[in-house]
Amino acid sequence: MTAYILCFVLFSIGLFSVVRKRNIIKIIIGIGIMEYAVNLFLILIGYCKEGRVPILTEGQSIKNMVDPIPQAMVLVSIVLGLTLTLFLVAVAIRIYEKYGTFDITKINRLKG
């Protein structure tokens, strides 16, 4: 249960960064932290104590093995997280080129 709570704390740090910080890069970092926390939480749910790696070898059954389904889902989630980071950084660089700052309180003016 402590591991879950530490996961929630990690998520809260990411949430704090997204809501409170003014720098766009800090917001992207906060989104990344939240994503890590969620991935880790899903893997923790599928964890089986003293379990084996979900790789079948000759003559072994799936008994006493960690759940492979959350792992398959998180595998997709990690790659999509990379695309999210890529896209957000592209948007942030574009905003910097237009406004000359990463500060979200200064990019509210209309221009061009």
Binding site: M1, T2, A3, F8, V9, L10, F11, S12, I13, L15, F16, V19, R20, R22, N23, I25, K26, I28, I29, G32, I33, Y36, L40, I43, L44, I45, G46, Y47, C48, G51, R52, V53, P54, I55, L56, T57, I62, M65, V66, D67, P68, A72, L75, V76, I78, V79, T83, L84, T85, L86, F87, V89, V91, R94, K98, G100, T101, F102, D103, K106
Partner: protein, 177 residues
């Protein structure tokens, strides 16, 4: 379990540094530490595929973020609505923690998972493929369309990035803004 707790505490410390430090480059390096800690946690939780992938993805996103932090920025305005911002942030965090506390009662304790759902999947797999990586089997057999969708999302994101960072506008020439 104690190793996972130690890795998680390391990740939390690195995340706090990443959020609180002023220098953006240090912040990006700290988020890299969080990602590598996550790869270590995956390894401890018996998910080696995820650990490898997380390491690769972490290095790639670190490169992307460092590319963004090389820009010089004006000094940030620190004034204005400090109290309101902090209180609303705390409100969000407290609401999240309350929901999480409610949800904690519904999920099994750590290490109690039983992989029952994987049994029908394995029964559908042809006999000669019964050895091998179950994660890869699930991705390639049961969730093949989903994997295709993932590749499509990756491709769409790359096209979007190219469209956003394109310098020349539709009118041709000019600065494109």
């Amino acid at each position: 379990m104690i190793e996972i707790h130690l890795v998680l505490i390391f990740m939390i410390a690195a995340a706090v540094i990443a959020v609180s430090v002023k220098d953006l480059l240090s912040s990006v390096v700290a988020i890299g530490a969080v990602g590598v800690g996550l790869a270590m946690a995956f390894l401890l939780l018996k998910a080696p595929d995820l650990a490898i992938l997380q390491l690769v993805v972490e290095i790639l996103s670190l490169i992307i973020l460092v590319h963004a932090t090389t820009r010089q920025d004006l000094p940030f305005s620190t004034s204005g609505r400090w109290l309101f911002n902090t209180i609303s942030t705390l409100f969000f965090v407290v609401v999240f923690l309350m929901v999480a506390h409610k949800a904690l009662k519904g999920i099994p304790i750590v290490g109690a998972s039983l992989p029952g759902a994987v049994q029908p999947i394995m029964e559908n797999v042809p006999a000669k493929e019964e050895t091998g990586n179950l994660v890869a089997t699930i991705l390639m057999k049961t969730r093949a369309i989903d994997t295709l969708g993932e590749v499509a999302a990756l491709f769409t994101a790359v096209v979007g990035v190219l469209a956003i960072s394109r310098k020349i506008g539709r009118t041709g020439g000019g600065n494109g803004l």
